[in-house]
Amino acid sequence: MNFWYFLTALTLLSASMVILSKNPIHSVLYLVFTFFCISGHYVLLNAQFLMAVNIVVYAGAIMVLFLFVIMMMDLSKNSPDSKSTLTKLAGAILGGTLLVILIAASRKVDLKDVKPIDAQTGMVEGLGQILYRDYVLPFELVSILFFVAMVGAVMLGKREAGERNF
């Protein structure tokens, strides 16, 4: 339990650093760290497979994409911060309010009759059985989703005549 507090504090800290740091590349690195922390949470929840997925896909692949996006922007031209302090403040207050509302509401959740999980919950095998037996259809249709994403990405990403070539 103590470890959970430590991990959570770390997660929140690195997550806030993602927003607060000025350099976008630092933000991405903080984000990677945040993902690692979240993977730690998965472990605490006995979801080892999700931990692995989180590290491989999010901390690995998606962060690479983030970096590419950042590198595609022209960072040499340091554009001044377009948001005024007031805007930032308003956004922070609003986000905080939403957080407070959700926390205040969740306070009332009664956890006394929560079933303790057994050691097999969250194991890969259980996941596999549910995913490939009960959820066949969404699983197959996810391939269509990937397909659309891929077609869209290559279509939009294709260089066309008249565009700049680096």
């Binding site: 959820y135 249709l141 397909f147 869209g152 939009l156 005549a161």
Partner: protein, 471 residues
């Protein structure tokens, strides 16, 4: 259900048809594909099937919704004119394939039994739309619209997903009937142990879906995106996406959460009123026909939500009728807008303002007439389909015993009066303003579609029971 599989396969084959380097065959092939899917869809008529461990359920209601979706897709494809003949900058094979895929997503959204299916369907539809919105790569507006849509859309999806997670946490079920039981049980126990989680989950799911159908105050993306996207895809978005979104909202609210009507109904009342007022009032000021149609689509979301809110036995058929009437009229309007704005293009940029329509009737009587009928239908003038759409919706609202609905109705009727004002702008421009639009050559298919939609609009306005009995 079979339509989903067929359309997925057709979408993939469409991509490979594109390698034949023959733009001509893509359009007819896609139309045939959609017709086949439509036929497969009817195979489920008069049965009640559960598919793949209760992932999907088809019944007459869903078949009807799928029919509207496929019909709209058919019409949109039919007026796409193979996306011009610019091989370098337009990719018809990809566009058609993505349109078919998004139809798959839309069908999932109207037949889902499981929230996972809803989510996957919504994502397929949304991702397709992000791509198509930005498909005009040389237009800065299109790029901006796509990015905006993507940012806000993923935000909304996140909210929806959060809601799903909370509801799952509280009811331990993704199945919409299972959730309904869980919710009913929680309601009996005054919220039960997980009340706050469950209730926030319900609200967040509703908000996520309302975003997709652009109900105020989650409508902000709509005008910018509809305006920026290429017109043909705007037509698709404002019909298919809206129909699917409304159907999904209706499905989940009426099946899973009827026992907590007060919880989502109370905020929805204000959302409906805000949607009607903002949609209609803002449309008045617009100078661009396309942007006006965007606001009009917001306002129609409001009318559709009225009947979702009214929760009458007739809601099914009212919703279907309204969606059908709205879809047909909107596609007609876009069909006219597209050819006219291209014919009136200035410096290579399509002119989408009302002025572009000035004097349209002189040389293009068919276009002007179709435009008039579609505008009359959207405005809800009798003897057009739109009138009965509104009539059914209003009578649903009226027959709800709650006195609140009388007020909603007053607002709705007032706002439909405001609607007349801006729906008549294009008609006035076409018939009464001085101007010159050269004769626009239309392909036989295009003409056929215009005549078909116009006839349907009038036919449904003369004899709504033709389809109303089916619904």
């Amino acid at each position: 259900m079979n339509a989903i599989i067929a359309l997925s396969l057709f979408g993939i084959s469409n991509l490979f048809l594109g390698f034949l380097n023959n733009r001509k065959i893509l359009l007819p092939a896609t139309l045939v594909f959609i017709l086949i899917a439509l036929g497969l869809n009817f195979a489920d008529w008069n049965h009640e099937y559960y598919w793949f461990n209760n992932m999907l359920k088809t019944n007459n209601l869903s078949v009807n919704f799928v029919t509207i979706i496929l019909l709209s897709t058919f019409l949109v494809v039919a007026i796409s004119r193979s996306f011009g003949d610019d091989d370098e900058h337009s990719h018809p094979a990809e566009y058609y394939a993505i349109l078919l895929f998004s139809a798959v997503g839309a069908i999932m959204m109207v037949t889902f039994e499981n929230l996972i299916m809803l989510f996957v369907g919504l994502e397929i539809l949304s991702v397709s739309m992000y791509v198509l919105t930005g498909s005009d790569k040389r237009s800065l507006r299109s790029n901006e619209a796509a990015l905006k849509y993507f940012l806000m859309g993923s935000f909304a999806t996140g909210i929806l997903l959060f809601g799903v997670a909370l509801v799952y946490g509280a009811t331990s079920s993704f199945d919409i009937h299972g959730i309904a039981q869980g919710v009913a049980k929680a309601k009996e126990q005054m919220g039960g142990a997980y009340g706050p989680l469950l209730y926030s989950g319900v609200i967040l799911i509703m908000v996520g879906l309302l975003f997709k159908i652009s109900a105020a105050p989650f409508h902000f993306w709509t005008p910018d995106v509809y305006d920026g996207a290429p017109s043909i895809f705007t037509a698709f978005m404002s019909t298919v996406v809206k129909t699917a979104g409304v159907a999904a909202t209706y499905r989940i609210l009426s099946i899973s959460f009827p026992s907590v009507y007060g919880l989502w109904g109370n905020p929805l009342v204000y959302i409906v009123c805000a949607t009607l007022i903002i949609g209609n009032i803002t449309a008045v000021y617009q100078q661009s026909f396309k942007r006006m149609l965007a606001y009009s689509s917001i306002s129609h979301a409001g009318y559709l939500l009225i009947t979702v809110l009214a929760k009458r036995p007739e809601t099914n058929s009212s919703l279907l009728f309204y969606s059908l009437a709205y879809a047909i009229a909107t596609i007609t309007a876009f069909a006219v807008l597209m050819v006219v704005s291209e014919a009136q293009a200035k410096n290579g940029k399509a002119d989408e303002s009302f002025e572009a329509l000035n004097g349209l009737a002189n040389n293009n009587p068919l276009l002007a007439f179709s435009l008039t009928i579609s505008m009359l239908s959207l405005a809800g003038i009798p003897l057009t389909a739109g009138f009965f759409g509104k009539f059914f919706v209003f009578s649903d609202a009226f027959s709800n015993p709650s006195s609140l609905f009388k007020w909603i109705l007053v607002i709705a009727i007032l706002m439909s009066t405001v609607g007349i004002y801006y729906y008549f702008k294009p008609i006035i421009a076409a018939y009464m303003k001085k101007g010159e639009v050269a004769k626009i050559e239309l392909s036989p298919l295009y003409k056929f579609i215009l005549i078909l939609t116009t006839t349907l609009t009038i036919l449904l306005g003369l004899a709504p029971d033709l389809v109303k009995n089916i619904f």
